[in-house]
């Protein structure tokens, strides 16, 4: 475990950007967005998740599937919720046969949240606003700099390479970080009235429930904002056309998504289609891929054109 001072942190970003295209979050008014790093950009790792998930660094919303040069990229300041989503995406895209277009040559540097967005609810799912595994490096804000943990060989090698920028972390650093983590966990929990659910039970309850989905789906306009903005949704459409194979982001919320030739469609009605998203996230994916398809980032609540509160839906199902 290491410590990097605020001063050295600037050099660190410069060094990383020599090898990787570097993306980091910037604050615009009250929200965060990704930006490509340029020399002299100010990087603060404070705050909470960005509007757009980090997943679109790993694959594009629309992309021609032909061999091309891959430029390695680094994401500095990814939050725990995006990293959780990435675990499922990797399970899908990198399971055999591997998707050769998934951009896996990268550097993932997560950062602890220091604040909480309006709709964040990771704690309701028993998840935390800081990452504990799955990163190359994790940065935790502390006095005068960051407490740095390594999660992979790649992370270790990077510290080794830039070792003049880091010092060994002290007990004091460690203590200060655990205090900060307690605080942010408390903040997010309190924002969510300290509610917490057992994920396995939720999956089973979703399977049995019909009414809640019928009620909440009434205002759904099948726009796909929720699935596009989700850090764990992975669906796409592989099209064959004049340019060969093109992969487009797709959504189970579109009416034609599951239609087969002859017109049969298992989810042509709105309510079953709406419910499918919840089933997929809390029942199917945990059973088959071992990861929940929801990370509690709350982006789907921000983005819903039908003003549907995803958290309210799962809590209502959970309570009935």
């Amino acid at each position: 475990m290491w410590f990097i001072s605020d001063e050295n942190f600037k050099t660190f970003a410069d060094e990383i950007s020599k090898e990787y295209t570097l993306y980091f979050p910037v604050l615009k008014e009250t929200r965060y967005n990704w930006k490509k790093y340029q020399k002299d950009d100010e990087i603060s790792l404070d705050g909470f998740r960005t509007d757009l998930p980090a997943k679109y660094f790993f694959y594009a919303t629309q992309e021609e599937l032909r061999q091309k040069e891959k430029t390695p990229f680094a994401v500095l300041g990814m939050r725990a919720c995006d990293l959780e989503g990435l675990k499922l995406l990797k399970k899908i895209y990198l399971d055999e046969p591997q998707d050769p277009y998934f951009r896996d040559e990268n550097l993932i540097i997560t950062a602890d949240c220091t604040d909480c967005g309006e709709n964040c609810f990771c704690t309701v799912l028993g998840k935390k606003p800081y990452a504990e595994d799955g990163f190359d490096l994790n940065f935790s804000r502390t006095d005068g700099g960051f407490f740095v943990q390594t999660g992979t060989q790649k992370g270790n090698a990077l510290i080794e390479k830039l070792k003049e920028l880091f010092i060994k972390a002290t007990e004091e650093h460690k203590y200060s970080v655990s205090r900060r983590r307690e605080e942010i966990l408390k903040k997010v929990s309190e924002k969510n009235n300290n509610q917490e659910i057992v994920l396995k039970e939720l999956g089973e309850k979703i399977e049995k429930n019909r009414e809640v989905f019928e009620e909440f789906s009434k205002t759904c306009v099948s726009c796909s904002a929720c699935t596009n903005i989700c850090p764990a949704c992975f669906c796409f459409f592989l099209s064959e056309g004049a340019k060969g194979k093109i992969r487009y982001a797709d959504s189970c919320q579109f009416k034609g998504y599951a239609r087969v030739a002859g017109g049969a469609n298992p989810r042509k009605e709105l309510a079953p289609r709406f419910k499918h998203r919840f089933l997929c996230k809390f029942s199917f994916r945990p059973q088959m891929q071992e990861y929940t398809g929801c990370t509690g980032c709350g982006r789907c609540i921000d983005g819903c054109q039908g003003k549907i509160d995803f958290k309210e839906v799962i809590l209502k199902v959970y309570e009935t």
Binding site: F236, D250, C252, A261
Partner: protein
């Protein structure tokens, strides 16, 4: 670069046979052999136009070339029907899991087919007949809408000679040129003596036939785990990534397309 599972292998159309007014069989020779197991499927690319999934209809013991039997059902299949001998197409595969032949060994095998659903079943039948001593008995019940809709018309007598017991029906016949049974395929159960407790049954056909065929099999005593269904869902990637083919927790393209009934019977809306 890692191998690209989205990139089709080029194949040449060696021959095209008309089966019915809207079903054709294409004989394909891929540049690199595609060693499939019966029941697995392939993605058929019409370059620049589209892609659709089909199950090879030939025996898996034939490896240099294979056949697909395709019904005209929409945009891509319409394009496929326009293809001629000598044209180049693209094939991705083999995809998914085929029939678990080892579970059929030593048993009475009942094959229940309807319409173009006979395509994967022809592959199965030919594969089984190739090693018919491994199976106790091979019975085929096949139904089509009208006599004109029967696929592989000229092959049935040959399959009989090779050792299959075959019973056929048509839903209706206006021309009077049909001597056999008239009625939906399940009426054929009255024609044949079966041993359901020890048997396996394989079903493929239109959703309504799959549904009533399966329920009938259960009714006469087949065990759910001994009934094998080829499920059709919308497909895109064919390799368990795009999500389109979801059937409950399964991706049909990867976990199927062949399932035994006990695996999927509790999934809501499986016949839709």
């Amino acid at each position: 670069m890692k191998p690209d599972p989205y990139k089709p292998v080029k194949a040449e159309i060696l021959d095209v046979r008309d089966e019915t007014p809207n079903i054709k069989t294409f004989v394909l020779k891929p540049e690199i052999p595609i060693p499939f197991k019966t029941g697995q499927f392939i993605q058929f690319t019409v370059f620049g136009e589209g892609e659709a999934p089909f199950t090879p209809s030939s025996s898996h013991f034939e490896t240099e070339k294979f056949e697909v039997t395709i019904m005209k059902a929409g945009r891509v299949t319409e394009k496929i029907h326009g293809l001629k001998k000598g044209d180049a197409v693209g094939i991705r595969g083999p995809l998914g899991k085929g029939y678990p032949l080892n579970e059929f060994e030593g048993k009475e095998v009942l094959i229940l087919g309807g319409g173009v659903g006979m395509a994967p079943l022809r592959s199965l039948l030919l594969t089984l007949l190739h090693e018919k001593e491994k199976y106790k008995r091979i019975v085929l019940l096949y139904g089509a809408k009208t006599p004109d809709d029967i696929v592989y018309k000229d092959e049935f007598s040959n399959w009989r000679k090779m050792g299959a017991e075959i019973f056929q029906s048509v839903d209706r016949c206006e021309t009077g040129k049909w001597q056999g049974k008239t009625g939906v395929v399940t009426c054929l159960f009255d024609e044949v003596k079966l041993n359901p407790e020890q048997g396996v049954a394989i079903v493929c056909g239109p959703p309504i036939m799959m549904k009533f065929g399966t329920l009938k099999l259960i009714e006469i005593g087949y065990k759910p785990q001994n009934i094998f269904l080829s499920m059709e869902k919308n497909m895109s990637c064919g390799i368990g990534k795009c999500g389109h083919c979801a059937l409950g927790k399964f991706f049909v393209c990867k976990d199927g397309p062949v399932f035994n009934y006990s695996e999927i019977k509790d999934i809501e809306g499986i016949w839709e």
